[in-house]
Structures are given as structure tokens and as C-alpha cells.
Amino acid sequence: MAVAGLARERSVRVAGGVELHPGAWLAWLGGACAVAFLTSNPLYLSLALLAAAGVYVLASESAKGRMLSPFVQLGLVIALLYVPFNTLTGSTGTTVLATLPALRFPSWFGGVVFGGDVTAEALVAALGRALTIAALVLAAGAFNASVDHFRLLRLAPRGLSQVALVLSIGLLSVPQAASHARAVAEAQRLRGRRAHGWRALPGVLLPVLHGALERSVQRAESLDARGFGGGEGRGGVAMTIVGVGGLGALAWGAFAHFYYGPGVAPALAMAAGAGLVVLAVAGSGERRQERLRRGRWSMADIAVVASAATSIVLLVALRLTGAGDADYLAYPEVVSPAFHAAGALAALLLLAPAAALLLRPDREEAP
């Protein structure tokens, strides 16, 4: 019954198929990131990578997915390069596999030692980090290819909705700028200028930036002419500024927390940022806007969110109990990681959106 009801409701939106709510995709991305960060066990990470890859392959069948594939490929190459680089620069560990001539960079260049003892510990640690990076790249790729950014950002609460809209329009202009860049490079050649190599870059870059700027002015004009931002009180602008400030503080705090390590300043920044965001959301929006689509949550959406939540719960539980080596360390001496079914389940639950993607109707007709 539930399935029939689901199919009927969905058929109103998209003829005969399942399309996940942007919120569900957001939850899935959160789950994938949490899995990648919560465990350093190569076994679970490998499974998570496979799950993310599976979802990515299904998601990238769309036109939008194909467009994103260069970015994903670049991410994967970076993940792969991470392994030799980190193995050669990290020489702690007890199991020495080989000894290479050491190349020491001066201290003002970071004092990195390149070569020297190549240890199994460094290799395993590097592989673990590469798995994490690759899984994150694929998850982000799948998310970007599947989610409708416009709808996602319009889920933002009032007070942030203006920022969200501007952000979504910014995302929209990226492919336009890419095609404009191709046209400009071609025009350079038609003008008798070479369009290859670094020296040609300014000649292409400036017109492309100029074009992007111009289109954004035109778009702002069109937004104005279509009533965007109309009917709001003065509070709207002030609250938007408060909201943006809050988001900025939150982002800086999170960055500082991970980059410099936990401290008082990042914690304060994050707390203040969160406070400002709450203020912005609460302080604006006497007049609620309705949407064309309420974006009802289907059973499939709930299933995806639930599986993402389960993944996180399972891994947190593993870390707290210490079972199954969720927090695996290659140092000081490499040992084979322990395996627990709960960890594997947490990773494989990330496959949840694959079912919805398989049922998705092919809406990307050739233009």
C-alpha cells in the first residue's frame, strides 16, 4: 500500500519514477562525510569508497553528471598522488621497507624530508587518507550531479533565503562561463592569437571574467524585474547581513578548528556564528513565502535519511566501545585492522540512494 501511494504521489512530480528530495541528498552527503571522517580503518573506508563510487556512477549518467566528471577525475588523481607523496615524506614507523637518498628541504620551506626511510606504516597511513579523500570526492560528485541546487538552496530558512538564491544562481553561471571560455579561446585563434599555453591565459581569462560579470548584472536586473526581494520590510536586508556574517563566522570557526586544532577562538567563533544564524532566521520572515512544490518527503527519502543516520550511529558506537578498530592507527607498528560487521554495515548503508537512482526516469533528453 505504502509503495503504491508513493508511486502515485511521485508520478505527479516526475512521470513514473523516484526522485529524492534535496534534503535527503544532503543527509546522505552528511552521512558519507561522517563515515569518511569517523573511521580510519582501511577496510571500512574501502567499503565506503565502493558505495560512494556505486552511487556516483549511477548519478553521473545525467547530462549534469557528465559535465562534472572532470572535477571528480581531478579529485581522484589528487587522492592517488597523495599515496607516493605521503609515503616518501613520512618516515616515522618501525617497519622499514626501503631506504632512499634523503632530500631535505630548508626549514623555511617546511623542513620536509623527501625520501629517506620508506616505512610500511607511512604507506598504510597514506593509503587510508587516500581512501578518505577518494570517498569524499565521489560522494560530493554524486551529490552535485543528482541534487537540484535551486530547490536545495530554497529549503534554506527565511533570512538566509536571499543568500541561498544568490548562491544557487552563482552555481548556475559556472557551466555558462565554461562554454563562454571555449568560445573566447576560439575567438582568440580567429584573431590570429595562439590560444594554448600559459601565455594565452590572460587573453582568455579577462574576457571570460568580464562576460561572467556582465551576465550577472543582467541577471540581477531580471531578478529585480521579476519581483525578487519585493514586499519585504527593512528588516530583510539587515537580517540577511546578520545571516551572512553568522555563516562566515561559522565557516571560519570550523576551518580553524580542523586546521589549527581545537581552541578557544574557533569555538567562540562557531558559537557566535551559530547564534547569528539563529537570530537571522528568527528575526526575519513575518511574511512566509509559499513554494510551487512543497517537496514532500517520500518513503524513499526517509529511508535514505534513516540509513545515513544509522551509519553515523554505528560508527560512533564502534568508536566509543573501541570494538572493530574504527579508529585505526598504522603507527607505531603496522598491524592488520580488526573487522566488525557493524562498521561494514555503516559503510554499505551509503548505497541507499542507488535504489532511487536506478528507478529514476531518464529526464535528460537530448536537446
Binding site: 538564491l165 568560445a183 551576465r215 543582467q218 531580471s222 529585480d224 509559499e290 510551487l292 529526464r363
Partner: protein
Amino acid sequence: MIGVDGLRFSYANAARPVLEDVTFSIGAGELVLVAGPSGGGKSTLLRCLNGLVPHFHGGRFAGRVLIDGRDTREHQPRDLAAIVGMVFQDPESQVVAETVEDELAFGMENLGLSTRTMRKRVEEAIDLLRIAPVRQRRMDTLSGGELQRVAIAAVLSMQPRVLLLDEPTSQLDPQAAEELLTTVQRLHDDLGLTVLIAEHRLERVAQHADRVLFVPGDGSVRELGVREAMATLPFAPPVARLGKALGWSPVPLSVREGRRFVDGRAWPAPAHNGASTHGGVALSVRDLRVSYGGALALRGVSMEARRGEVLALMGRNGSGKTTLLRALLGLVDRERGEAVVLGGDVRERATEELARDVAFVPQEPASVLHKQTVEEEIADVLAGTGRAGSIDEALDEWGLQELRSSHPADLSVGERQRVALAAMLAGAPRVVLLDEPTRGMDYETKERLVANLRRRCRDGAAAIIASHDVELAARCADRVVLLADGEVVVAGWTRDVLTETLTFSTQVNKLLGGCFLTPEDVLGEARR
């Protein structure tokens, strides 16, 4: 509905006002054609009517504009959005959402309408613009014509009482433009909307318009009746020009109206020109096969262009016109066959080297303009290609002397098109390739283009114009090659090709039949 009184506006950094002492009024339900040369202030005038001027574009503003009783100085554009809807020139840069339905709902969401109302109005707008087949599509998969229809639907769903269209067809191919204009006219008839449309394709709009606002470019705006406008303005459609010259009254606005003057009269046949002597072969393709985006774009095309001739490459969208031009520049790889330009195979020279002898102006003028001033654009092409030529000559040719130190980005779309032509054709290229040059082009620039092409060919250059514009081909092409589905269907003298078809024929040919193509044929003026 619209009252403009003593309007005067100049942009912040401009020396002279764009609009000066403009006064007119427009009643509810009128369809008004806004005509005039590009860069003359048509866009500015339309922007005054929904408050974008002075609220979005700063400058000195004086006078009063009343829209449905509301003064634009006191109301922001976003507050007028419920009364006035506007569709812009460039279909791509007005897109907000990722899917068609979200795009249609955007304006209504801003108005704060209920979901129920929005759903109903989305359906209405989809029916009115006949975009049901694309309603679930992503915006980036739509063609230009579809985008403009969605843009109009998105504005109509807000149920405005005035619709402002700023050259909505200038970026569209003729079929899409035709459909769009038909749609606009139907909306006007069915819904009683007040419509103001800036448009160069007069032959399509003139017969439906109630009035003409003529914006000559000196700051004034003149109100004219349609027939009065067609009788006095230089840029009337061919049938109106013919009627005017022969003293027909009233001046016919369409081929249909012209028929009653024609019946039973005999016309002296024009001299059949086609025997003009041309030089040697400038470029040729043999059995050319090119794939583009996974599909076969050209399937074995053979043709040639001689020195001193203008060749029109015609055919519908996707028939391979652009691909053929690009193949001649080595911008696309061929699978089979040969392409020879000025005696050498295209593959032997890099595109940037070929550019010395071959000038190509692509469809999108904005993408070829890279410099800070108009003058620099021309100088850069001359330096890059190594062609000899003077900047002043190029500026004079295209009437750009006054704009020589302007930044291309500050110019109107039509002016930029002129700059692109002046720059890319600077010097004396031996081969000229133009892709859809008259899209959105005003009358005056078309005249310049025709004169320019004729002069270059007299000097021994070869020109190929890929175009849908039958009137242009009739006026300046020696031969026509008709492409369909990547193959040559017909090739021959312009007069033979364009008089044997039903769709690819000019207004004058539709009216008189026989071998008449242009008003000049009938009036006995020498064609070249």
C-alpha cells in the same frame, strides 16, 4: 495604462541624454512596436517603464512615468513586477532556476501567492506558451527559442497587465523568432495585454501593431501610426518599400495586403544576372564528412567559392552550415574528404595562421570582443593576423568613429555586433566567412553589411554567409547553396534557387512570382 510626461534620462557617465523630453501615452490593450536603430535608446525606454531606470541604472532622471497610476520614481521595479513584466534580449542570462517549472514559479513565489494559485497559473502559462513538452526539463537543455518562451511564460504567470519585450528574438534563429512573434501576437489578441515590443523584424510585426514608437537615436521618441511609419521610415519591409515606390495607397504591410495592387498587371522582367565573371577558386570542399557531438553533421559535402563572389549558405537549423564554416577554418576535425583554402589544405595551417587570410565572424559577437576600447579591438586583430589595414577605415566602414574609445561592454547589443564585424573583418582578408550575420541586426547595419560585402568582392575577396535571411541573400549573394541534413540539396545562381522554392523566397517574389527577388528588381535599379 502608460503615461510618460517630459521624460529625460542620461546615464551616469554619458555626455548627452539618451532620452530627452519624451512624452507619450499608451492605452490598455495596445500592441506597440518600438522601432529604431540599435543603440538609439529602445532598451532604455523600455527600462523606464518598469522602473529599472532610474532604480537599477543610475543617472539623471527627470519627468514622470506613470504605470497604471503608479509613479515609477516612488515604486521599485520589484514592486511594479505584478503590473509590468519584462523579457530581455539574452535568453540565458535571465534564468534563475534549474528546471522549467521552478523557473515559472519564481516570480509568483516572490509575489507571495499561495501554492494553489501558483499551480493553477503554472498550468495556464504552460498552455499559453505551448511549452508542455519541456515542462520537466532542465533549463540548460533548452534551445534559445524554448528559453525565450519559458521566460515569457514566467512573466505571464505573474499576470502582469503590461508586457515589455526587449528585442526578444535577436538571439534566435528565424524559425524560433517567427514562432515567438506569433505567440506574442496571439497573447495580445487573447488576453488583451498591453504589449510593447522592440523588434527589427518589421515584416513580421508591422501588420499586427497598433502603433509605432520611433526612437531615432537623438533622444526623441516619435509616435507614429503603423502605415505612416512604413511610408516614412527607411527600414520598412520590402513589400512596403515597393508599395511606397510605386505609389500604392495605403502602403501594404504584408504580402497579402500587397496582392490587390498586383492583380492583372504585367511587370518587365529584370535582367538575369548570373553571368558575372569571377576569379579562380578561393576555397573548395570535396566529399567533406564531419562528426559533431557524436552525430554526423556533414555527410559528403562538395562545393566551392570563387574569388569575387558572395555565396549564401542556407538551410534550417542543424543542417550543417556552421560546421561547414568551422571546417574551413580547421576548428573541427574532418573524417573524410578535403577542404582547401587558397590553394592549401586546411590541415596544413593552424587556425591562428589561417586567420591571416580568412576572417570568420561567429554568431555570438560578445565572445570575440576582448579589449578595452573599440579602437583596440581593431588594432589587436590587425596585429594578431598580420593583415595590413587602417583602423580609421574600419571605423568609418561600420560607422563607429564616435564610439572609437568606448568600452565594448558599454555598447548596446547591436553596436557590439558592428564592432565585432569591424574588428574581425579589419584589413583585407581574402576570404570572409560570416555565420548568421543579420541576427537581430538593424536596417542601417544591414545596408552597411551589403555594401561592405559587395566592395570586398569587387576587390577580389570571396565571401560565404551562412544565413536564414532570404532578403539578405537575394540582395547580395551571387550563388546560393542549400544544405539539408548535412548534404547539399541545391546549388546555383541566387535567382534560380530562390525563385524555385516556396519557403526560401523573398516577400517580393511571393508577391509577384517570376524571377523578381527585390524591390530593386521591379524598380529597375541595377543590383550591383
